[in-house]
């Protein structure tokens, strides 16, 4: 080995231009992050600042007044009702089907041609624009059955389905195989192994993924445009008659010249963000507490 005796080894950083380039690159990466944080914080602060002025129990439960009404009148009650109904229905449809689809991909058909095609197309489907889903449900349902909250739920459900499939699939993959083997060795059928061992083991991640899908669906506007025909009246029956939702109201009010309507839009926006945050935090809590598969 060549040892240069008598000379101290040079252990300092790379000199000159190399070091500078490296530093610049690091700075740029940090700047990138900052560039993203600043507008995000700004948006959140604005929504909170403008929204909190109008938020009150009355605001959350009162019916929707005409646009011209000042901020002190009325509220967005029907929109909250609509959001819960429609998103709730969509969840009831999309989550079970999504979980079942993921079970097919992971436990039954994954490696075959059909399995890989379905998996690939589920990924592709996550990229279908939400407005296209709205047009789809319009074409296939609304034209025959009129506008309704349910139509909106169908559109949101179509949006949620591939997302739930993908996230559930990831979670099922994480369940260690020895658990399955232990169940098979006791004489369980594949369905039983899946339902009694695999699903309970993965349930934390599955629920967390579903919560995030719900958070996204709650904020969607475009699919609802052509399916629920935004109205202002409260409609507790999602199966008949047009409906409204928080994002729909925000959209309508955003282009309104009246300050009252705009204020209501901010209030609705704050409500929507709070809902999304709560779901996001719930997802993290569920993940942290319920995912432990093996010793």
């Amino acid at each position: 080995m060549a040892v240069i005796t008598g000379q101290q080894p040079n252990l300092r950083e790379a000199k000159g231009w190399r070091r500078t380039k490296n530093r610049i690159a690091t700075v740029l990466m940090v700047v990138a992050f900052v560039l993203v944080v600043i507008p995000l914080v700004f948006v959140l602060i604005t929504v909170v600042a403008r929204g909190i002025k109008i938020i009150s129990w009355q605001f959350l439960t009162s019916p929707i007044p005409p646009s011209v009404a000042p901020a002190s009148e009325g509220g967005i009650g029907p929109a909250i009702v609509g959001t819960f109904l429609i998103v709730g229905l969509a969840t009831l449809m999309a989550v079970p089907l999504g979980v079942l689809g993921a079970i097919y991909l992971n436990e039954y058909g994954g490696k075959g041609v059909l399995g890989r095609l379905i998996g690939f197309m589920a990924d592709v489907m996550t990229g279908v624009p939400s407005i296209v889903m709205g047009l789809f449900i319009f074409s296939i349902w609304v034209l025959h059955f009129q506008f309704s909250g349910f139509a909106g739920a169908l559109a949101l459900g179509c949006l949620m389905l591939p997302v739930v499939i993908r996230s559930t699939d990831e979670m099922l993959k994480l369940v260690p195989n020895p658990l399955r083997e232990g169940s098979y060795a006791l004489g369980a059928t594949k369905a039983r192994v899946t339902i009694t061992v695999v699903l309970p083991a993965a349930i934390g991640g599955i629920v967390s993924g579903a919560l995030l899908a719900i958070a996204r669906a709650a904020g969607e506007t475009a699919p609802l445009l052509f399916t629920i025909l935004t109205v202002t009246a409260s409609n507790w029956n999602p199966f008949s008659g047009p409906n409204t939702s928080l994002p729909s109201q925000i959209f309508t009010n955003a282009t309104s010249p009246y300050p009252g309507a705009q204020d209501r839009a901010w209030g609705a926006a704050l409500t929507l963000i709070v809902i999304a945050f709560v779901l996001m935090i719930a997802a993290r809590i569920v993940t942290a507490r319920f995912t432990r598969y093996s010793r």
Partner: protein
Amino acid sequence: MSTVTQQVGPAGTAGPTRPLSQRRPFGDRTFQVITLAAGLLVLVILVLIAFTTTQQAAPWFKAEGWGIFGKTWNPATNQFGALSFIYGTAITSAIAVVMAVPVSVGIALLLTEVVPYRWARPIVYVIDLLAVVPSVVWGLWGILVFVPWIAKIYAHIASGVAGIPVLDNLFGAPTSGASFFTAGIILAFMITPIVTSLSREVIATVPAIDKEGAYALGATRLEMIQGAVWPHSKGGIVGAVLLGLGRAMGETIAAALVIGSSATITSHLFAPGDSMPAVIANQFPEASGTFRAALIGLGVLLFAFTIIINVIARGIVGRSAEQGSA
């Protein structure tokens, strides 16, 4: 193999306590069928989307033929050429991608290479927060807060570049707060989370040995990234970019609120314009007949574009992830 004998043991011995032959339980087979049906639903829905929307848009295709790509969109005169919207979609998506990709890749590299583990979690939280802000809230903030503010900046820039050849064409008058560029900026914020998270996934598949090898040769971090990370991940990052592009193209509400809703084709980025999803959202309530067919037809075009982009993107991301970990 010998033939099956149903007897279960020579006489006198304790045989198996339960018989060995048993048809596959009904529940087991049913369950498998149900899961298969759920999986097939994905394919069924995609096919139905293509089918029903095309059917609804047929009157437009028939009426215009290749004129669907025409420049003029005027419901009053029954002219429905989509070119200006295609242009608008292309321009705003391009702006969004140009802005979002360096930022997203930068953040992805920050997370995977620079930041110690403890700091990574808060940064990821911030990105998740960014992803969870609904499109309509971006749009609301965009039109009520951002647009008035940036209109002044545009005006300044425009007067600054007035007369200069290329710059004037891009950034000169007419300017408007609600414009292609504004929509591009908002879209950039919205696609950053997905491009970042996919880039992270791709970079994570770079074998640690390669990275360590570069460091072991005395490379700086930047040099390691250039030498070890980039070659492995450039394919995947291209895929991530394409996915971001697809997302930007399809983004409706934020664009609808801040793009200016003016069906023009112009090189002036600060001028108001329109895009496919935006015009559908804005004009659908009043549309009927061929007008509505045209709007749905725009949706069909959008669907086709995004499907193609997504298929290519997923193909690239899928393959490059495999190669990276080989």
